[in-house]
């Protein structure tokens, strides 16, 4: 509790300073600004409150009303919130996850802000907010995915970070022989299996193929998709994954890694905070990019979280000013630093915090992700395809023999969903 409080105070103070420095000459806003945020976990909550405090300091006349909704609950509440009497700013996710709301005309088109230079430094990330050539929101943070592993156990077994899939399998064999599992994973809520599929498919068939699959242009029964699953199966059959993973959430599965019963975890960078909190030191954990399988430039998952203006909002000018504020270089540096969100800033002019994992992730995404940057299975694929798909992926991980049936089911869903 103490550390959370300290963090939030520090974040508020820092944001205030950054804000007054960056916007000292900005004109004063007045009226109302209603923000509904899903940043309900302790650290993000402090950041969101800090953002509001900083913006308030710049515009003392403005009457800001902040509502923080539970992050999981928001995933279903958003459709009601956008309907009648919507707030002026809301949180959501990038890419296809915006699709239903954009198609229904519930998100404001803010392409003009990108076009007229109101949002400097966002050129690189613009794509994730673009649907049909228009932009519908701004990002505020993103994070890399990759393999987090127990450095101490790797050292004990004399292993090094693998670069190719063959090395990965060789490593895994040593780990399995030592009585451990190679990978912790908890698939109770399905999406973690989506991460594995993303990487297996992007490495086996390349980023472009993965995106074709996401857009419904390739059949799920395609031999190339089968090859992805065949590679994945090698790891499953050798006992690479922990047993009974279908009964655990990702947090519960983390215990296997903390206890040293599993050595690595394919996860987003948010797992680092949980690992540190559970008592692992930075000497015990390290990170490597998912190894190469086929000869393709690497594609990476880097999910982006976003702010949007509902098209029914009443104070759109204030909302636009807030989006500008959130994405400005200084604020981005602040809110993504290690003691705030602990993720990567989306503004090219921002600095990345001096953190072992953020630095590695940033380097990986800027120099070693030529294939392209994907959002994540459940954000790149349309909602329905994602939900049917992830269920199939979970089943595959438990019963690899059901593959034919699973692929037939997914193909059936594909034909219906992308009409």
């Amino acid at each position: 509790m103490h550390s959370i409080l300290k963090t939030s105070c520090a974040a508020v103070a820092a944001l205030g300073m950054a804000a007054s420095a960056a916007f000292a000459d900005g004109h004063q806003l007045s009226g109302d600004l209603k923000i509904t945020s899903d940043m309900s976990n302790p650290a993000p909550r402090a950041v969101m409150e800090g953002l509001v405090a900083g913006f308030q300091e710049m515009h003392p006349e403005l009457n800001i009303e902040l509502t923080i909704v539970d992050r999981e609950a928001w995933k279903t509440q958003i459709r009601n919130a956008l309907g009648a009497n919507p707030p002026d700013v809301v949180n959501w996710y990038a890419a296809n996850r915006m699709g239903p709301y954009v198609e229904a005309g519930l998100f404001e088109d803010i392409s003009d802000m990108y076009a007229n230079g109101d949002l400097p430094g966002l050129d690189a990330v613009q794509g994730a907010l673009t649907l049909d050539g228009k932009q519908y929101g701004v990002p505020y943070t993103y994070y890399q995915w990759g393999v987090y592993y127990r450095e101490d156990i790797f050292n004990e077994l004399g292993l090094s970070e693998p670069v190719t899939f063959d090395e990965e399998i060789a490593n895994c064999q040593v780990i399995v022989d030592s009585g451990r599992a190679c990978y912790a994973i908890g698939t109770k809520f399905l999406w973690t299996a989506g991460g594995w599929f993303d990487y297996m498919n992007m490495r086996t068939n390349g980023f472009d193929f993965h995106m074709q699959l996401a857009r419904g242009e390739v059949e799920w029964t395609d031999p190339r998709v089968r090859e992805t699953f065949a590679n994945w199966r090698k790891l499953i059959d050798m006992g690479g994954f922990i047993a009974d993973h279908q009964s655990y959430s990702w947090q519960e599965a983390l215990n296997f890694m903390i206890d040293g019963e599993a050595t690595s975890y394919l996860m987003g960078n948010f797992a680092v905070a949980a690992m540190r909190e559970a008592g692992l030191t930075d000497e015990q954990i390290d990170f490597y990019q998912f190894p190469l399988i086929g000869d393709y430039p690497q594609g990476e998952d880097a999910p982006t979280d976003t702010f949007h203006i509902p098209s029914g909002a009443e104070n759109k000018d204030n909302a636009r000013a807030f989006l500008q504020y959130v994405t400005s270089a200084n604020v981005q540096t602040e809110i993504n630093s290690g003691d705030a969100l602990g993720q990567l800033p989306i503004n090219a002019a921002s600095g990345v915090d001096a953190d072992e994992f953020l630095e590695q992730g940033f380097a990986m995404l800027s120099t070693n992700a030529q294939g392209g940057v994907a959002q994540f299975f459940d954000r790149d694929f349309p909602a329905e395809m994602a939900s049917v798909g992830m269920e199939g992926l979970q089943e595959f991980m438990v019963f690899p023999d059901h593959l034919d049936d699973i692929l037939a089911r997914l193909e059936d869903a594909r034909q219906r969903i992308y009409q």
Binding site: R79, A383, E384, Q394
Partner: protein, 309 residues
């Protein structure tokens, strides 16, 4: 004195006797219509559309039902099939709560020191929320740390992962549901047992009835109203099972524990559910299944009342 003649009395005064009951019923009927009848109609209406819950509805006739039930050249929706069979499993096994509740009620229907405390303890699971029951049981079933596997380990049986095994998971959840439901049936029977006529029991005893015969011919007939209610609440409880599934397995593993109500929620209202029309079609099917059962019970009740006259 013309004001006293029947013709000049106000219309309301003339029809007071006939109208007043309706006036008293009006608020209830109004609310029932707005919150029950109209939404049922809307569900029917939406089920003929394709709608993501946000944009415009498109009328597609009975396409949702055709897809759901596999009419025409398509296969029956497998998720629907699984959900339907799971619903039947729930119905059949949930009814075990009725005899179990009766057994515990008979056992507790005695006067010993502190019996009130025992009764309250047995009733306890019904008082706590279903969500808590679900959580407790999912910990109980945990594949490694769970108490169940610890007990099985003591007798040398291998570890089982009940909630992770698609063939066992539904039974695991039903077992969790039986815990509070048995307590509910027990309370119904305990109150019923209070109303059992001691003179009849005495008379039966003089005639030499005891044990099973006493229960079957003397006690149970007098418990008929309690049995009826116990059946009704248990069947309705089985059909609307949702919270336990949501808490314990979230419909998984790979959708093997879905029931119709959960499937409906998943298709239309959950994180990835944007098929309001399809969800409504499931709701309509569930509505007719429930209607079948409730209709039967209403008929049985009506028949009994007629027979009693």
């Amino acid at each position: 004195m013309s004001s006293l003649t029947p013709t000049s009395r106000s219309w309301y005064k003339r029809n007071e006797i006939a109208l007043t009951p309706w006036l008293f019923l009006l608020p209830a009927m109004l609310f029932f219509a707005v919150y029950v009848i109209v939404p049922i109609g809307q569900s029917f209406w939406i089920s003929f559309h394709q709608w993501d819950g946000l944009g415009e509805k498109t009328y597609i006739g009975t396409a949702n039902y055709e897809r759901l039930l596999g009419i025409g050249d398509q296969n029956i929706d497998r998720k629907f099939e699984t959900s339907f069979w799971n619903n039947l499993k729930w119905l059949a096994l949930y009814l075990l709560a009725v005899p179990a509740g009766l057994f515990i009620a008979l056992f507790l229907n005695q006067t010993v020191r502190g019996i009130r405390l025992y009764k309250s303890l047995f009733f306890f699971p019904f008082v706590i929320s279903q969500v808590v029951v679900g959580l407790v049981f999912s910990w109980f079933y945990l594949p490694r740390e769970g108490l169940l596997n610890a007990i099985l380990g003591l007798v040398g049986a291998g570890p089982v992962n009940i909630l992770g095994d698609p063939t066992l998971a539904t039974y695991g959840i039903i077992a969790a549901g039986l815990w509070p439901q048995t307590a509910y049936c027990m309370i119904l029977y305990l109150t019923g047992l209070n109303a059992v006529d001691p003179e009849q029991v005495e008379a039966a005893r003089l005639d030499g009835a005891k044990g099973y015969k006493m229960l079957w011919y003397i006690i149970l007939p007098q418990l008929k109203p309690a049995t009826f209610i116990a059946f009704v609440v248990t069947i309705i409880g089985a059909l609307r099972s949702f919270d336990l599934i949501s808490v314990m397995t979230n419909g998984g593993p790979f959708g093997s524990t879905r029931v119709l109500s959960f499937y409906m929620f998943e298709e239309s209202l959950s994180e990835f559910g944007f098929r309001m029309g399809y969800g409504s079609a499931i709701a309509v099917v569930l509505f007719f299944i429930m209607l079948g059962f409730i209709g039967y019970f209403l008929y049985a009740m009506w028949r009994d009342e007629k027979g009693a006259r």
